[in-house]
Symmetry: D2
Subunit: 277 residues, 4 copies
């Protein structure tokens, strides 16, 4: 399956400032690219590309006052398979976990593991370990948190979500991540493209958040908001929580003027035409 990916973001920059963007697909998906994945930048400034400590590709630039437009369009080959499911994937005891998964057991900005630990054990301490626990957490989160765009807040943490019971995509994931970590299952935040493939269109596109847990010998995708295997996720970045993988971080005052995301299955795009382009 081919998926057209793209975005068009416009910021209004108040004064010269650094901007860091996480707007490329994740290195793990580079082999699937059919077209190059390159950020277009409206201002004629140098770009500085690097990988952060989680392995995400980042771009830094020194933005000038005025509008700053970042856009891109690329094409990716996707398996077309839904998120993998394996109820037998076992929970690995902490003393056997790979070293680099251990940091995903700790508390982070939006995931107060320390504060939600007691209730996590009360709620899920008797559930079968591993996949059933993660699924039970997702079921609970999806069943108890209402999606509400009006309740988005940049400082909202898992604890806030748990008590307020309302939130947006990232809030669902933060709560589920926190509960998983409390139960000693490494869990990390993921952000990327997720279209409506196989589902009715759901309004304007946005980047999406989901999360990954480490079971058996690999990371698995879970999504406490949609809570059903989906087709066509294209990962951009992973981190401890949303604080690590903001799409754009402006080191100064800026305003979002325009925001458009595209994630469409390319049903009728003949390869021939692309080849001739």
């Amino acid at each position: 399956m081919l998926i057209r990916l793209g975005y068009d973001i416009e910021l209004e920059i108040s004064q010269q400032m650094a901007v860091v963007a996480v707007l490329n697909i994740h290195p793990s998906r580079i082999a699937d690219l059919v077209e190059p994945d390159e950020i277009q930048i409206s201002q004629p400034v140098p770009r500085d590309e690097f990988f952060d400590s989680f392995g995400n590709k980042c771009t830094r630039l020194l933005a000038q006052p005025g509008p700053l437009r970042l856009w891109s369009s690329t094409l990716i080959e996707d398996s077309g398979e839904p998120d993998a499911v394996d109820w037998k994937a076992p929970q690995i005891p902490v003393h056997k976990l790979p070293h680099d998964t251990l940091r995903f057991l700790l508390a982070s900005r939006y995931c107060e593991v320390d504060r939600l630990s007691t209730l996590a054990w009360q709620m899920f301490g008797n559930t079968a370990s591993g996949w059933p626990t993660v699924q039970a957490i997702c079921d609970w989160v999806q069943g108890h948190i209402a999606f509400d765009y009006n309740c988005a807040h940049p400082s909202k943490s898992a604890l806030d979500v748990y008590t307020e019971r309302k939130g947006v995509c990232r809030d669902f994931q933060h709560l589920a991540i926190t509960l998983c970590r409390a139960l000693h299952i490494p869990a990390r935040y993921a952000t990327g493209y997720l279209g409506d493939i196989g589902f009715p269109p759901a309004g304007p596109m946005d980047f999406s958040a989901w999360f990954e847990v480490y079971l058996g010998n690999r990371w698995w995708t879970f999504d406490a908001r949609n809570n059903t295997p989906r087709i066509g996720r294209v990962l951009m970045a992973t981190g401890r929580d949303a604080a690590d993988v903001a799409i754009t971080t402006s080191f100064g005052t800026s305003w979002l003027r325009n925001f458009l995301v595209v994630t469409d299955e390319v049903v009728a795009e003949p390869l021939l035409v692309r080849g001739a382009a």
Copy 2:
């Protein structure tokens, strides 16, 4: 100057569980060791040593129910110089900072940069950038937060410290770190040994917390609690905040039964005797 370092920690372990300890000196200080730096473990269990994503040396073990004692004693050569001071060390603009310092600008569990940013700029936005800003932050924190052992709380964040105005060592540092980051100065949490060298004895020893900021082309030591250059700090670990560098993390219920730390200048210990030992 020679410094005798050591600790003796006893945990009561309720059931078999993983324990991760950050109880070695930092790799950057290994060349200064006069004696080996090895954790002694009372239980005959295998140990698994590794470096975390910040470069700290960690030890993981599978503790068995009952008492678990961790202790050590080592000797280190120290310059005897107080913490370096350089009022001219310049603040590096975000677009020129080394990539691996950028993560120390972000919000973390105990450092809610997002929530304290506005007030940080109100308070210090007009201070000369770089060293004077960091020093002004330390002065403010030391002047406005009262040290109170009774106000220690494992969930206390910079925001809590800022409003409650009371805390312990780590709380002072969390608040200062958060303010530095808000002002675009990379700041990281540090933990290690700090004795009374050059000061009157201040009661039972404990591990100490301080913080480091990136100015000019290096990390510098600051300490918002003591707020004066000190002699004899021996670094054990750095991280975003205390969540990253807990001395011991037990993945299950445990109790601290005993806790002793030693950090003494070895004034009269003749090298000859050591050599003969």
Copy 3:
């Protein structure tokens, strides 16, 4: 001076539920009424009028599903004098305060006196007691909190305002009230009409919030948002904080469909005409 007061509020009621409205002028202003002050109710349901424990006039009704419109128009005689100022009004020591002012020293939902007490003393403990302290608090709040309609949140408390540094009218007052109480000055929340009299028009009208403090032998009006004596305040209700004096409280799910407030000086309305009506 004559002031035309009125409002037109429409709620959409999801199911039969009690609604309590605090939509009359305060009993202390009844003698100034030139026209009756009566709530008009679109649904033909009985009303139950009573005074709450603070002496505010409340109306309770059993609303039926569908639209519920509450509206009114009345005319009041006002002194036309700005808020009284008396820098000599002394702070009364707690042991001499009238008994019924003591409850306005305590913590309440949006005024966490317990949590902001230490910093209140740090900030204003050296200011001359009484009026200068209250004025210094208002100056600080007005100078450090930015008005931002987008930052309104029904759960926002004084502590939140203090750290976030943004808020709406009621948030300014909650913070000032909390600081006053911490310094042992009784302070209560006030809500009512406040037009633009003497000022350039400032957009659509809304009900306004201010606060009162007890100094000397009476309550005085302060306003940490506008922070200047104003003409034409008409009090509706006082309480510990906004939790006590919500304009309307629906005991069930409802939506605000329309909201209009009028507070206009009646410049050219000849008394003769009114008399002949």
Copy 4:
């Protein structure tokens, strides 16, 4: 049944300050007194007795620097009956509740009804209204919150208790009160004496907290910590939450030096002997 009541409290007062004490039994129990109920005060200062807005008897005095001891001993006749239970006591719809119960539906300092409302309806919205709902709330609170003296904190609110899952007596009640109010059942905080009558002795006495709800046509006693009908409660004060009925409130810095409470059934005290004393 006769119950001996008493206390002996010693504060260290740092400087001249007002102290307000709520240390008398509640006016509703005065008719049961066998001996006078009078606060003894170690300092020769005038006392000012009054009733607060909830009807509690309060005593205000101007304490002088140094120790301030407050003590008392009295004897009261008690029915010896356990807390009344009536599963048929109906929940009164909000539009029919007595006016003076409405304030016990609102949010207060330690009872953030606004923030816990959604989850209260999720948890108990399908429980039969009235007594079964209150009992279900108490069962849930008792079953999910662990009693832990080390987790007492003067700023701990219902929201904190709900997430931390640990607390002391007052914390259990604050959470239960908040959930009741969210479900439109008036609930108020109560403090007083509660001995071990009918139970094994449970360590040193303290004043106790419980709560009351309005069902049918009266207030009923519930206790989310003990969660079983008890004998020998002697009410001292009621209010919205602990902020309204602190045993002592010092308007300045003071330290608690001694604290002793007595609540003992007087089994063998012959009236004759008392008469002869």
